[in-house]
């Protein structure tokens, strides 16, 4: 399989998901959720992960942190972080060293991540005390600094507020502050702004952008929103039906996409086309993963598909610098 590693002079890889295969066992059958997923997040980069229902983007992130349900079965692959395979790590180490410490995660609904009976400040301080320093006073100061860094208007006030007293946007920023306070190296964000208003989302994205510049944050940013992806991501991976379709720098992805699904997806987004008549659609529907299509899972809906697409799954090939496509006929695609 393709080894997306560094060349001389490029950013070092921080998280490498290699050839990940995952199934879910359910009453109705085996859901083949992930089929050879390869994603590399480099230090200092915001890596977007985009796809529609069932593409496996959330599952990938949960696998990384060992947060899957009991009915999940990893069939192959590795998740390398700082030289260690997270999939082989035991639960204790994962909990103490990795989650919340090295790798933070935030979800769509921040109110479910925050403990309702502690104030925002207390929660972050506790994490700091566990992972960083023992001194509560020092930790408190650190927390206030971070709350300020995420541009919360009145850090001392927010410190003393309970989660339900904060708006969704503020809650998400508290989560970012927590990540900064714990000095996490990697943030996995799963649809962090989907539930937020446009103007709140804009504030949040701006905070992320500024932090990216000042701190060099590394983020795996999962979303279904193409506009948000183009807003803050450096690199984008497109997933479909549990497979990787395309990975590219964000401008390459939008200007010269090469996978038929990526192109279809981009042309379905309002904002790309001006009026309804110009909207394009992809025929068919997203496949169910219990009996997924063979070979390239997109082939039933693809206008370029031929026999080989049904038989053989296309490998992820580097077609130009930093641009990878999994398609037998990418050269023909326009």
């Amino acid at each position: 399989m393709v080894d997306i590693t560094n060349e001389v002079g490029r950013k070092r890889p921080l998280l490498e998901i290699k050839d990940l295969k995952l199934d879910f066992l359910t009453e109705e059958g085996t859901v083949k959720a992930l089929d050879n997923v390869n994603i590399t997040v480099k230090k200092g980069e915001i890596h977007g992960l985009i796809g529609e229902t069932g593409c496996g983007k959330s599952v990938t992130s949960l696998t990384t942190l060992g947060l899957l349900d009991d009915n999940a079965r990893i069939r192959g692959g590795e998740v390398i972080y700082k030289g260690k395979d997270l999939l082989k790590m035991d639960e204790n180490t994962l909990r103490q060293k990795v989650r919340g410490n090295e790798i933070s995660m935030i979800f769509q609904n921040p109110s479910t991540s925050l403990n309702p009976v502690y104030t925002a400040g207390e929660q972050i301080r506790e994490s700091v005390v566990i992972y960083q320093s023992d001194d509560k006073k020092e930790a408190q100061k650190l927390v206030l600094d971070e709350l300020d860094r995420v541009k919360l208007p009145d850090p001392e006030d927010v410190y003393d507020k309970y989660p339900h007293e904060l708006s969704g946007g503020m809650q998400q920023r508290v989560m970012i502050a927590m990540m900064l306070a714990c000095d996490s190296n990697l943030l996995i964000a799963d649809e962090p702004t989907t539930a937020l208003d446009v103007s709140i989302q804009a504030q949040f994205l701006k905070v992320l952008q500024e932090l990216k510049e000042s701190e060099g944050l590394s983020i795996l940013y999962i979303t279904h929103d193409m506009a948000v992806i183009s807003e803050i991501c450096d690199v984008v991976t497109v997933m479909y039906g549990g497979q990787i379709a395309e990975t590219a720098d964000v401008s390459d992805l939008f200007n010269t996409p090469k996978h038929p699904y990526t192109i279809g997806l981009i042309h379905s987004v309002p904002g790309v086309k001006e009026s309804i008549e110009e909207f394009e659609t992809i025929p068919g529907t997203v496949p169910r993963l219990i009996n997924p299509p063979s070979g390239c899972r997109f082939h039933p809906r693809c206008e370029y598909a031929r026999e080989i697409c049904k038989k053989e799954k296309p490998n992820l090939e580097e077609i130009e610098k930093n641009h990878y496509v999994a398609c037998h006929f990418w050269e023909e695609v326009e």
């Binding site: 025929p283 068919g284 529907t285 169910r288």
Partner: protein, 307 residues
């Protein structure tokens, strides 16, 4: 699931007749799915089995029972099992097995009637309370609370005494207590369903209020009601059995399990058969209904949640 038909690009004259023919062939049934789920639950199947056995026994009692249940034989009182009387006899020498068998008729009759009456009252009031809201809801709920505050047996006993002896007073008495469960569950469901958009959607297409209650609320409340009913049946049986044990309700010589337990208790130390088997009959029936009710509830729930 099917692929979406992308036939919006010029549908024109699709052969409707052909489509309808295909339609008939593809009937899927919600009931089938529920049955599949239900089948997997072994306890529930056991419970249903018990119920079926009871029904068959009740219907075919005259053919199954070896003796006339009312046949007194003072020569053979309080006996243990024998060839003639497989489960022994009671204090009047009547065959226990036959009395047990005929007892199913009374048990089922009582159970069904009680549940039907209390269900009818409870569901109606629950629907009204939930859909109307406001002071109507308040009033009805306070009535429910009042009834629920009564100690059941005391109330039922009191009612039975007031209404006289016999089967019907017990049925009415227990029914008056149990209806509250139905009312509460129905109202709870109605309040949850009220939030669903399809209720507002029904209003939007012009459905009348009565129509909305019967076509939209009621069918969605039905699964819960069925479950409550199957769970209340054993409750009803237990209550009436207890009342019968206390001497109220159906009078001798009608074979009623509760009374048989009463009678058997008298000579328990001498011969425990009567009290044991009649007690067991009650227990098995109650368990059977409970398991079936649980199974029904589990089978219905995931289906309602979506495919």
């Amino acid at each position: 699931m099917d692929e979406d038909g992308d036939s919006y690009f010029g549908t024109g004259d699709v052969d409707i007749k052909q489509e309808l023919k295909d339609l008939k062939e593809k009937e899927t049934s919600q009931m089938e799915l529920v049955w599949l789920r239900f089948k997997r639950n072994k306890l529930a199947l056991f419970g249903t089995g018990v119920l079926l056995v009871l029904i068959i026994t009740a219907i075919f009692a005259p053919f199954i029972a070896p003796h006339d249940p009312l046949d007194i034989n003072t020569a053979r009182q309080r006996e243990g099992p024998s060839w003639e009387h497989p489960l022994g006899t009671d204090q009047l020498g009547r065959d226990t097995l036959s009395r047990l068998i005929y007892g199913t008729r009374v048990a089922l009759f009582i159970g069904i009637l009680i549940v039907a009456i209390s269900g009818g009252i409870g569901v109606t009031l629950g629907l009204i309370a939930g859909t109307a809201g406001g002071w109507v809801d308040e009033v009805i709920m306070r009535v429910v609370d009042t009834f629920m505050a009564f100690p059941v047996l005391v109330f039922a006993a009191g009612m039975s005494v007031a209404l006289g002896t016999g089967l019907y007073p017990v049925i009415i008495a227990v029914g008056l207590i149990i209806w509250t469960r139905f009312a509460r569950v129905t109202r709870g469901d109605v309040l949850a369903i009220k939030q669903e958009k399809y209720i507002e959607g029904a209003k939007a297409i012009g459905e009348s209020r009565l129509s909305i209650i019967t076509k939209y609320f009621f069918p969605n409340v039905l699964p819960s009601i069925v479950v409550v009913a199957t769970i209340q049946m054993p409750s009803a049986l237990l209550f009436s059995a207890t009342l019968n044990f206390l001497g109220l309700g159906a009078q001798r010589p009608t074979p009623v399990w509760g009374q048989m337990v009463n009678a058997g208790a008298d000579f328990m130390q001498f011969n425990p058969w009567l009290v044991t088997v009649s007690g067991m009959a009650i227990v098995i029936t109650v368990l059977g209904f409970n398991f079936m009710g649980d199974g029904l509830r589990d089978a219905l729930d995931p289906m309602r949640g979506g495919g």
